[in-house]
């Protein structure tokens, strides 16, 4: 029973809307190989860490901005809601599917970077970016679910990311997306990471809650 469901969800989740942002990191690494390899340049760990901290949350947000409105945009939302499945499953399965795709994207990027001599581990350069990435994924997914519109989900993800870039966390404080990259703050990166994870789970809970409510309301 699970195999066809997984196959169907994989097809729905891993369309061009998720694949395009997931290609950003491998594409960057590939261009980096062309630019750096001839000169023997090896990007420092700080550079690669900075890349993941800046890019991964945006990629996660973009890849998640369509997940909760697929049924509505394809006009079979009512049918899907009649399936005998728990309401909490859809948001979690779709988040997990996107996370899997991002993991593949990150792996491809790290493997490509090895060509230019970057043997950095996931723990060194990716882990610090994960809380912000999960937060952005949950945020984009929730906005997409609330509005039923992919463009609004996309605008929410990109707008939030740009605002953080421009204001340096002025409005978000402990939830600043790029704290792990350094900067002046009254919070340590660990506190920031914990807050982002908490907020991500809260958004996810809201998303699940909204899905349950939509089903119970029948609308």
């Amino acid at each position: 029973m699970y195999k066809p469901v997984a196959w169907y969800e994989a097809k729905v989740i891993h369309g061009f809307s998720a694949l395009l942002p997931a290609l950003i990191l491998p594409a960057f690494a590939a261009i980096g190989i062309l630019a750096w390899k001839p000169y023997g340049h090896v990007p420092s760990m700080e550079d690669v860490l900075g890349l993941f901290i800046m890019a991964l949350p945006l990629i996660g947000g973009l890849a998640s901005a369509h997940l909760m409105s697929i049924e509505r945009e394809e006009n079979f939302d009512a049918l899907r809601r009649s399936y005998p499945e728990p309401s909490w499953r859809l948001p979690l399965v779709r988040l997990a599917g996107t996370a899997l795709l991002l993991a593949l994207s990150v792996t491809a990027c790290l493997l490509l970077l090895r060509v230019v001599g970057c043997y950095y581990t996931v723990d060194e350069v990716v882990r610090p970016a994960l809380p912000a990435t999960l937060f952005m994924m949950a945020l984009a997914q929730l906005v997409n679910n609330l509005t039923g519109s992919q463009p609004v989900g996309v605008v929410a993800a990109v707008g939030y990311w740009v605002m953080e870039m421009q204001t340096g966390g002025e409005y978000t404080g402990i939830l600043y997306l790029f704290r792990a990259a350094g900067g002046i703050s009254d919070y340590t990166p660990e506190q920031n990471g914990a807050a982002l994870l908490t907020a991500a789970f809260a958004l996810l809970a809201l998303n699940v809650g909204w899905s349950i409510r939509r089903r119970s309301m029948g609308g």
Partner: protein, 659 residues
């Protein structure tokens, strides 16, 4: 046809205005822009042309991309595109929707207009509004048309939202190519978002950028016409309808305008970038700051009499007294003088090459003797400087719209150095007289209040000149004169009055020498961003007594004010200055202030701990601590302030004992 157009226009407008997300996004954008830019003391024109305006255009283009894709793709999304194509109508249906969408996008500009109106003054607002409306309108129109063309040719699919966002991000990141002399020239104009550097200057607006902004506008105006023509052509052809010759004319005209402006932009960009990056061009050289201040040379200029006529090609006549301050006769004396200025006559034999003027008197200049030299020279002054993420801009120039002559570019013979440098090696101050003719611009100089274009000071180390129709001098209070424009002075006055009321007595104690601070475009101070604080530095002429300053004093005061601006109430800085007053400074106060600023990121607790160390151990204890902090900066930067202080305490305990 007109009726169908209007009906489609009204229906589409109604569709968009009925979306609650449209109004929510409008509200959020206004709140974000007003809260982010409303608290800074920018003038209305600067807000419209630079920070807020650029941000609104950038975010507006992103929103326009999404809304355009959503609206343009509606028929296809609802499986009605083929049915629509079969309707017995021409392009007017699509154009009605298209114009409705453009109309609906216009309110995205409102946040920039609101924040600018709030900032005022009205004169500045009205001065800036037309260009803002034009440029943001062009950007939004381009985006909407491009997306619409995509729909009427290949069709909008859902995944294209992501593709469009990636294109938007790619357009922003074109700035990464900016400094490359070739690719930058052809990639930079593709940033349709306009997010990023705008090059606005309160004194000269965009004079320093030459024709670049208008070439860019021409490029996008051409593209708008081209896209419009292509959309009509594609719609008519898809419906098997004839295409009017007017459509071909509009399309071809747009293509020509776009290609022409793009080509001229690119070629000029390459020229100026090439000039700045490769030193040998006689018109353009780089100003740079050497690592250490040069030692004074054994000669000095004690009197300059400079006459400048800018009515046609700028012509200079300089008379100067060169004094041998050393103990041995001098067979030659060297000065810096910009290569672009060609000498026509000189009263002594000379050689002028590589920005270096060497005078060789017929008999060596004896110790203590003065030689009077008279030079005539002239040429176009257009001195370009490198600008991060943009085309190079003129930092010193003489144009009909503005004059900016920074002393560092050596537009008059400056003692002793061949490279363009902001530092001064004239061993002693000179009497300088500068007379400017042939212009109606308002002129200001560090030499004091000029009347009839004549400026004169007794003890000046350098001379700079600025001319603009907007520039004015304002007496802020006794001893402090501010150079500003009408648009920024009201805010500048509010901002500066408490600062100088409180700190002038302290500053006088630390800067007892006679000096005058600040040229309006000393942008080389890397510690100030483009906001009102930096404009203050550019704008200030602190005339505590009556004359000029050395470069050292200029940077001292710049750091002083930078620190003062950093703290909201200046209490910490006053504490710093009170504590510093117990000691003497071997390296100058700017050394100390610089390191406070750069090593501690100006956090009050860390600054106070540094001052404690200074009070207890003087510079012998402070310099090693600052050095250690700078070496550990990457790590300290990540820590909260309390942990930085704890790190300092540990270092102090290990290396100095207790404070």
């Amino acid at each position: 046809m007109t009726e169908r157009f209007l009906r489609a226009y009204r229906l589409e407008l109604r569709q968009i205005f009925r979306q609650w997300s449209y109004w929510l996004i409008q509200g959020l954008l206004v709140a974000y822009i007003v809260s982010t830019y409303g608290r800074y003391s920018f003038s209305a024109q600067e807000l419209l042309w630079a920070g807020a305006g650029r941000n609104v255009m950038g975010i507006g283009t992103l929103l326009a991309l999404m809304f355009a894709a959503f609206s343009a793709g509606r028929a296809r999304r609802n499986h009605a595109a083929v049915l629509e194509d079969a309707l017995p109508v021409g392009a007017e249906l699509q154009l009605g929707r298209l114009f409705a969408l453009m109309t609906a996008m216009l309110p995205f500009m409102a946040s920039g207009i609101i924040v600018a109106w709030m900032a005022g003054p009205a004169e500045s607002f009205w001065r800036g509004l037309p260009v803002y409306v034009l440029e943001s309108g062009l950007s939004l129109a381009f985006v909407v048309l491009a997306v619409w063309l995509l729909d009427v040719t290949v069709g909008i699919r859902r995944w294209m939202y992501i593709l469009l966002v990636m294109l938007w991000l790619g357009a922003i990141f074109t700035v990464m190519a900016a400094s490359h002399p070739v690719s930058g020239a052809w990639v930079m104009p593709l940033n349709f978002t306009r997010l990023g550097y705008s090059g606005f200057n309160v004194y000269w607006e965009r004079t320093t950028q030459g024709a670049f902004p208008w070439l860019l506008n021409g490029f996008y105006a051409g593209l708008v016409l081209l896209l419009f023509g292509l959309i009509v052509w594609a719609v008519q052809r898809r419906r098997l309808l004839p295409v009017s010759p007017l459509v071909y004319i509009i399309t071809a005209g747009g293509l020509l305008i776009a290609l022409g402006c793009y080509g001229v932009y690119g070629v000029r960009y390459m020229q100026t970038n090439w000039r700045v990056q490769f030193y040998n061009d006689p018109l353009v050289t780089n100003v740079y700051l050497p690592d250490s201040r040069p030692e004074p040379l054994p000669y000095a200029v004690t009197r300059y009499n400079i006459a400048l006529d800018v009515s046609e090609t700028p012509a200079f006549v300089v008379e100067m007294d060169v004094l041998n301050t050393g103990d041995v006769p001098l067979a030659e004396v060297s000065f810096a003088l910009l290569n672009a200025l060609r000498i026509s006559t000189a009263s002594v034999p000379y050689e002028h090459a590589d920005d270096r003027l060497t005078l060789r008197p017929e008999t060596p200049l004896a110790a203590g003797e003065t030689l009077t030299v008279r030079l005539s020279y002239g040429g176009e002054v257009a001195f370009y400087s490198y600008i991060m993420a943009s085309a190079p801009e003129m930092s010193s120039f003489i144009t009909p719209h503005g004059i900016g002559l920074h002393h560092a570019v050596s537009w008059y013979p400056r003692v002793g150095i061949s490279e363009m440098s902001a530092f001064n090696v004239n061993g002693q101050p000179a009497h300088i007289r500068l007379a400017v003719t042939g212009t109606d611009l308002t002129l200001v100089s560090n030499l004091g209040d000029g009347e009839g274009g004549v400026f004169e000071a007794d003890d000046a180390y350098k001379v700079w000149l600025a001319g603009s129709p907007l520039i004015r001098t304002y007496p802020l209070m006794e001893g402090v004169t501010v150079i500003a424009t009408d648009s920024i002075y009201p805010q500048l006055k509010l901002y500066l009055t408490p600062i100088f009321t409180q700190s002038l007595p302290v500053m006088k104690r630390y800067f007892p020498e006679e000096y005058r601070l600040g040229s309006p475009w000393e942008r080389w101070n890397p510690y100030l961003t483009h906001n009102m604080a930096s404009e203050i530095i550019y704008a200030l002429v602190v005339d505590l007594l009556h004359a000029d300053s050395s470069s050292r004093l200029t940077s001292d005061i710049a750091f002083f004010i930078a620190l003062q601006v950093q703290y909201d109430d200046a209490d910490v800085l006053r504490g710093v200055m009170a504590k510093l007053s117990k000691g003497e400074f071997e390296s100058g106060i700017s050394y100390f202030l610089f390191h406070i600023y750069s090593a501690t990121a100006a956090r009050p607790d860390t600054v106070n701990r540094l001052i404690d160390v200074y009070a207890a151990h003087g510079m012998d204890g402070t310099v090693p601590l600052v050095t250690a902090m700078r070496e550990a900066y990457a790590r300290l930067y990540l820590l909260p302030q309390a942990e930085v202080v704890a790190w300092m305490d540990a270092w102090i305990a290990e290396n100095l004992g207790d404070v």
